[in-house]
């Protein structure tokens, strides 16, 4: 049996309580949505196999607790991550204000050498709700991502009806893959990986 070698990528999902982290993960992995999710205590774990640009990938998704004080347990889950997702609820301004807090806490705890290069994917979830309830306009989120200057990508999603979920996770997989190639190159100079691409340093917002 000849199965192609799979690349294992670790992705951490952060964000305030109740924004839909577990729901997004389940929509992506199992293609289903239920109102009856339980609160995530500590962390939860799911995997998904997919193919990006012809490469076979296993995404290891770490779903975390949203209550702020669980950040002190985070370091164990953050370690070795190839990409970080920060989720907010477009109908909850406070959850959007927290995005930067989650991002900086993650960078601090992982003490990443090149903070600007580490890929973050910011997801504005729950766009299926009544538009009159929205408190975070799309352009606010876009200008945040632009002004941060790091490697930030932004999508608006609905875990309930699945809007943009697979597109967003494909982008996540691509960012993680690219980041892990950088790491491999840095740690193993004799490796034959040729994906190093420094032109991607400027902040890009793909929407």
């Amino acid at each position: 049996m000849t199965s192609p070698r799979r690349t294992l990528l670790k992705v951490v999902i952060l964000g305030d309580s109740g924004v839909g982290k577990t729901s997004l993960m389940n929509q992506f992995v199992n293609h289903r949505f239920s109102r009856e999710y339980k609160a995530t205590i500590g962390a939860d774990f799911l995997t998904k196999e997919l193919e990006v640009d012809g490469e076979a990938i296993t995404l290891q998704l770490w779903d975390t607790a949203g209550q702020e004080r669980f950040q002190s347990l985070g370091v164990a889950f953050y370690r070795g991550a190839d990409c970080c997702i920060v989720v907010y609820d477009v109908n909850n301004a406070k959850s959007f204000e927290s995005v930067e807090n989650w991002r900086s806490e993650f960078l601090e705890q992982t003490s990443s050498l090149n903070n600007n290069a580490f890929p973050f994917v910011i997801l504005g979830n729950q766009i299926d709700k009544d538009p009159s309830k929205r408190t975070v306009p799309l352009n606010h989120a876009l200008s945040y991502c632009k002004n941060q200057g790091g490697n930030l990508t932004h999508f608006e999603t609905s875990a309930k009806d699945g809007t943009n979920v697979s597109i967003a996770f494909e982008s996540i997989a691509r960012s993680a893959l690219e980041n892990s190639s950088h790491e491999d190159y840095a740690s193993d100079l004799t490796g034959s990986i040729s994906l190093l691409n420094n032109t991607n340093e400027s902040g890009s917002c793909a929407c």
Binding site: S17, E36, Y37, K38, A39, Q67, R69
Partner: protein
């Protein structure tokens, strides 16, 4: 937080508070809402009030054929959990009254006989005394009580036994009055509590109706507790503990019980800001695991206890094992965990027993397989077998057994 947003937060907590306390404010059900009586009361309800539906995306370990040796089906236990709820039982939940399933509704004669016999033994152990005109039921801590508690408190005795174990059976007028005062006060944690109330025990019939019945009691107990212990406040995980208490005790007793579990039994230590004691408990467990084959395998796979034990400990195994198994763990914890050290030791003993039970699965799997087994619901079927292991580790942790054997070996040399 600027003044405008703090004003908004106050408005939001007030709005949430009134939803749980005022019937008139309950939002109108939309047509697509699935909160109809048919939905809420449909499906098979087990003896503990858990509704079995397929809509729940509960993660459960799928055992490969030939891997069931250690999870032998205990027939009696299986039948006991299949007892049906009757209409009058369901009707009582609307008043969020005490939840005490009737023994009479067991439909399997053999299991009923067994449980009845055990219940009779508990009658003999129970001592009744009068305190300010009320009957107080007590159990004297002795070897017989400990042995029988490890065998499992008969379900009809749980409410009484747990109250006695936690010391909340005697009159606690001052604390009860404080509870009602705290219920009236404002609490900054209401927003977080409101998020967790509907998603803590969605499968339990007591907690299914939004802003009503059990959800109201759950909200109020957590709200009051966050105010009662401001050094900790509300932390996710507490809701799971309260759900189990509310399944067996009326609302104000559930509050007293939660206070007892946190203070006397020392669970508050695990919840402190920064989780320092929880992190220490992870290290202790990791150390103990080095004496088990499962431990070195988990190390090889790069799986730290922190990856799966947080939920086990902070919720005291809620939805980590089947409900009937969780109750058996709670029986022992409430009796034996009379201070923080004993409580944590018992949690470690249960964790070790579960990991030992999963040995065959873990030894034969990869990172993903192990994580999936450990982060889902572990389908324990034979509670007696699990509790036997718990008892063993409770008496002697693997490191202690190793030291004893080393001492014995030295003794033989001299």
């Amino acid at each position: 937080m600027d003044s405008a947003s703090s004003f908004q937060t106050t408005n939001e907590t007030q709005r949430i508070y009134s939803l749980y306390n005022n019937s008139d404010l309950r939002p109108h059900l939309s047509p697509e809402s699935d909160e109809t009586d048919e939905y809420l009361l449909s499906g098979h309800v087990d003896r503990y009030g858990n509704v079995e539906t397929d809509s729940l995306p509960l993660k459960q370990l799928q055992l490969k054929p030939g891997k069931k040796k250690f999870l032998r089906l205990d027939k009696a236990a299986k039948h006991l959990t299949q007892r049906v709820f009757y209409a009058q039982d369901i009707a009582r939940f609307n008043d969020c009254d005490i939840f005490t399933p009737h023994l009479s509704s067991i439909n399997i004669a053999k299991a009923e006989d067994k449980e009845n016999n055990r219940a009779k033994k508990w009658i003999d152990m129970c001592q009744v005394r009068m305190e300010s005109g009320n009957q107080v039921f007590e159990f004297c801590l002795n070897k017989k009580l400990i042995r029988r508690t490890f065998k499992g408190v008969p379900d009809c005795w749980r409410s009484t036994a747990w109250s006695s174990f936690l010391g909340i059976n005697t009159e606690k007028k001052a604390l009860t009055e404080q509870y009602h005062r705290l219920c009236e006060m404002e609490c900054a944690y209401d927003i977080q509590i409101d998020l967790d109330v509907p998603r803590t025990a969605a499968s339990h019939i007591l907690f299914r109706r939004r802003y009503f019945g059990g959800q109201r009691s759950l909200f109020r107990v957590l709200h009051a507790f966050a105010l009662f212990m401001p050094s900790i406040g509300y932390v996710q995980g507490m809701a799971s503990i309260t759900v189990v208490l509310l399944s067996y005790l009326p609302e104000d007793s559930a509050f007293l019980a939660l206070v007892a579990i946190m203070e006397k039994h020392g669970m508050q230590k695990l919840y402190t800001l920064g989780f320092t004691n929880l992190l220490t408990a992870f290290d202790t467990l990791k150390n103990e695991l080095e004496y088990l084959p499962t431990g070195s395998k988990l190390s090889d796979l790069g799986i730290e206890p922190s990856a799966f034990v947080t939920r086990w400990y902070l919720t005291i195994f809620h939805q980590c094992v089947p409900f009937h198994t969780q109750l058996r763990i709670w029986d022992v914890l409430l009796l034996m965990g009379s201070d923080a050290d004993k409580t944590i030791r018992l949690l470690q003993a249960v964790a070790l027993a579960l990991l030992r039970g999963l040995e065959e699965v873990i030894m034969d799997t990869d990172f993903e397989g192990a994580m999936q087994a450990l982060s889902g619901t572990i389908p324990v079927q034979n509670d007696n077998a699990l509790m036997a292991h718990v008892k063993q580790y409770w008496h002697e942790m693997p490191s202690e057994a190793f030291e004893r054997r080393t001492r014995e070996a030295c003794g033989m040399v001299h």
